[in-house]
Symmetry: D2
Subunit: 324 residues, 4 copies
């Protein structure tokens, strides 16, 4: 059975989700699109119904599931609408602008008694992260004790403000660290280099593992994400993000991409396929609404820790039974 999908938001990420649904995913059909720019929506529709009101798209009878890729500020409202309509949604991160708002969405989903939201923390579908988890779960490194994360952007976008290094970038590290370790985060301290960039965030989990993360928004040399998980028997880490190596001009090596798009192209593709399959089989995968809440809540508290400079205990509340 083919899933009928409506896509809300056709910016860079939304258009890519649209393309993935059409070209690289079986079992799904795009039946509806919606964008603030009506001409853009029309241009990309290819026969799908064009909506100007995203709430109308969500409500439309022919729409079986929704991809939310509109601006961040709209995520929470659209997610709540999908829950109200009982329609599964793949919602781009962040789930909400604040932890409090995210918690309301969690509450709504819990009230409905069914997991409908998958948050677009796509790294969980990246082949390298997935293999790291598999190695850990297979006992390949023994009990984990440390996780080293590195998150480097070539340059922060113009519109980035201080806390966004945490709320926009580091938030990915929060989600993937919890997922890799299967642990909850318990404390955090932040060190900042002169000028506030890079940051070094050191966290502890509820099992005592240490998560050490560099977030460098202006690393200049390229976009580069790396992780190494250290266990009592060994370590597992990402290989070089390259399929070829060159010798040229007195140098051996490989290139870095300018941003995250090429680095995580596989992750986005596999995430879409996994979501379509999860909806079809009613077996949720990926980051849940709870995971989306936790990422936002930890990020908020790390922003505070950055301001105080001291080690902060993290408070998350208790996980509803729906998410265990």
């Amino acid at each position: 059975m083919t899933l009928s999908v409506g896509v809300i938001g056709l910016g860079v990420m939304g258009a890519e989700h649209l393309r993935l649904l059409r070209e690289e995913t079986g079992g799904a059909r795009v039946v509806a699109v919606c964008d603030a720019d009506a001409d853009r929506a029309q241009a990309l529709a290819q026969g799908a119904q064009v909506f100007s009101d995203p709430m109308a798209l969500i409500a439309a009878q022919g729409v079986g599931a929704v991809v939310i890729a509109s601006p961040d500020a709209t995520h929470a409202g659209l997610a709540l609408a999908c829950i109200a309509a009982g329609k599964p949604a793949l919602c781009e991160k962040p789930l909400a602008a604040t932890a409090a708002e995210a918690l309301r969405i969690v509450d709504a989903e819990v009230a409905g008694g069914r997991r409908l939201l998958q948050i677009g923390y796509m790294r969980r579908f990246d082949p390298a992260y997935a293999e790291m988890l598999a190695v850990r779960q297979a006992g390949g490194i023994g009990a984990p004790v440390l996780l080293h994360n590195i998150h480097r952007n070539a340059a922060a976008p113009d519109w980035f403000t201080g806390p966004m290094a945490v709320t926009n970038s580091f938030v990915h590290e929060i989600d993937i660290s919890r997922w890799l370790l299967g642990s909850e985060l318990a404390s955090a301290i932040v060190h900042a280099a002169p000028g506030g960039d890079p940051l070094m965030v050191t966290m502890e989990t509820d099992k005592g593992e240490i998560v050490s993360t560099e977030v460098f928004m202006n690393a200049h040399y390229g976009y580069h994400v790396h992780a190494q998980m250290v266990g009592r028997e060994g370590t597992v880490e990402m290989a070089a993000p390259a399929v070829t190596l060159a010798n040229r001009a007195r140098q051996h090596g490989h290139g870095f991409p300018a941003n995250w798009v090429p680095r995580f192209a596989d992750a986005y593709r596999i995430q879409m396929r996994a979501w379509v399959n999860a909806v079809a089989t009613d077996q949720p995968v990926g980051a849940s609404a709870w995971d989306g809440y936790v990422a936002t809540a930890v990020a908020e508290q790390v922003v505070t820790a950055l301001q105080t400079g001291a080690k902060a205990q993290l408070f998350l509340g208790s996980r509803p039974a729906l998410y265990t």
Copy 2:
């Protein structure tokens, strides 16, 4: 518009093609399947029409394009039937058992005046090979002068006989070398280690480039394919075929797969998407019938060269205008 595909042969490769069409490819629908094992065909049909006669599948009105993944000996006959029916086909390699037979297929396609066949030399869609070609074409290594290929299997299958190292394995190196260099092969000499394995095949192209290929059917340590193209300004080669690295038991490194399936999973997926798109847009991609003929013809002559031990000039005939 959705392409209606019939799949002939549902062995390991055929079943994977089926899965790729259904799960990882947009724009296509499997409408017909056929296998010598009727139960297997039924089990995998999922609503597609089941044929016991592949010729009937090819002739069926609802079938717009065909995937040929049946045993090697059947490829030529089915390919000719597709040409006769005017239906595009993705045909697993080899195109035919002999160069003479392959040439008859080329002649038939030329007579029809339209490229209908894409031969399943999937390496052309492997991200690493594709990037090597792109680097060469962008001038990144200057004019190519040498190509080093390494083709290692952990162990030859039981049913492998001597020449199959050439006709079954090395044939991939023939195709990819021509494609990477954009050259035609002109001579070959073969050195064989004691027992006949590994082989070292040294070829020259019509432009004077040297192609040096190790084919090791029983390399024991794992399945491993590597290539390095050397140009007057630099070199480009495959990176390690791994997404993670481990430190364990006094060792740092990554694993090798047991066979080609994991190594070329991306290539098979991208090939299928490219074929569906090529049929939809009527713009052929990948290895043509002519390329399929050349691979088989060169392999035949390399088998002879292996027997004589001397350097042999390669004879291919002239390429019909349809393929330029």
Copy 3:
């Protein structure tokens, strides 16, 4: 002119220093040896004069310079004796058991007005660390902002107690971090995994750079030291500590040594040559008595920080003019 050297302590390290002086260093001659085990001293003497009292060796007229490689507890007393005798010495780390004792040695050397001691922080002579420094100094990474250190032992020796991870192992990281960055350390916080191993020490320098160091005494998989320096324009890090790579048993990679001896063999050799040359030309190189004091003083305060779990400001006092 040939330097006449006396070697005190002929354990593993002392015997290696002896060998280096004899086989791999020009410009020096071993004229005197001393060990608590008189038979061992005799066995290794090869014509050098054998002393049972290290103070007598230091005082001996024919001895122009001294290598101190006796047990840690004896370093301070012997170093003071060398200063009193006006004889240059290469003294194994640590310089002293406490910061207070180390400071007394610094004071004695300052009173003498001449740098006589080189402390055996041999990493400064390791080709990889040396190249990292050279890249930084050449502007190859821009202004440094972060230093990631990893220090893993396969297994802590039996006689290791908790603080020794700091005072015996981490002390190397203190010295090399100061040297690589050309900065002084200003604060430290320590996170400990369950059981107290590994530790994660996060320090800040007086210039605001962040130094993040993992110290894992029981990393199990092998001895492994790594460092990556991050600057505003790029990064520089150690390459794999291996001269060959193997493909074997489904794995590609290289081995790790069991301990530091093979990893730093070049560093010890180059250090010895540099010391002999420094004495001959009266141009001190390597870690000074002040550096030896700082390493011990920081280690002491990191031990305290480990116990409190909070971020500690580091106090070092002011550097005497002799060391600028």
Copy 4:
């Protein structure tokens, strides 16, 4: 006991041998030097006796052993003089200009009944090659079947003429291949790219192993030597010739040297120490006069094979008992 060494030829290599003897080698003293440029000899003498006639240096009573680093054309005559004087010599490669001349030296040494010459094929002392041999001898790759060599220079010197790619560069590959495999070379065929550079030389050993070597005199991107030995159980190859890696300007990687000097600095140092020790203990190591002859004889025959383009059987004569 200290070896008294005379050094003949103080060009780039001779001066480096002088420096190694003085600074990085124990157990030796330079007592005599000789160079066509008398001023240069005087400037480097540091108290050693200066000779204008190399034969006089060889004959001098105080000279116990000789390093021959004068121009290639003089090697044979000086080597014969050392044999006549019964003095051990480390003779830079090549041993002689022709195989016939080299054979006369072998005959002279055999007549004397004692191995006096060590030929400066320094790669045998390179840590990477040495580890490859050790891995092979320890059974780490099973029986060897193939050896892939790559020899790339950034640019051929002005004075290089065609055959020098073979007689000056490839000659190193001849020696190291025989040494790594413990085999004798039996046949060779040469493929040349347009313009005669690079060459691809494919050889067979007396045990049937295949030796495949690229010699590229103008590889442009840097000086790069690589080798991979393939056995029935696995492979062993050189790691990257780098101690640090950098991320900079969208690239990850390491640099290449401009020429062989930095790449083989360790090999030259270890060779000198090994030679001094071999002379002191009268236990010859390294390439013998016979090995020097074989390298030259094979190179001569490969030059002929290059001209004919056909596979040539190699003729070496039989190895005298002195060298077994």
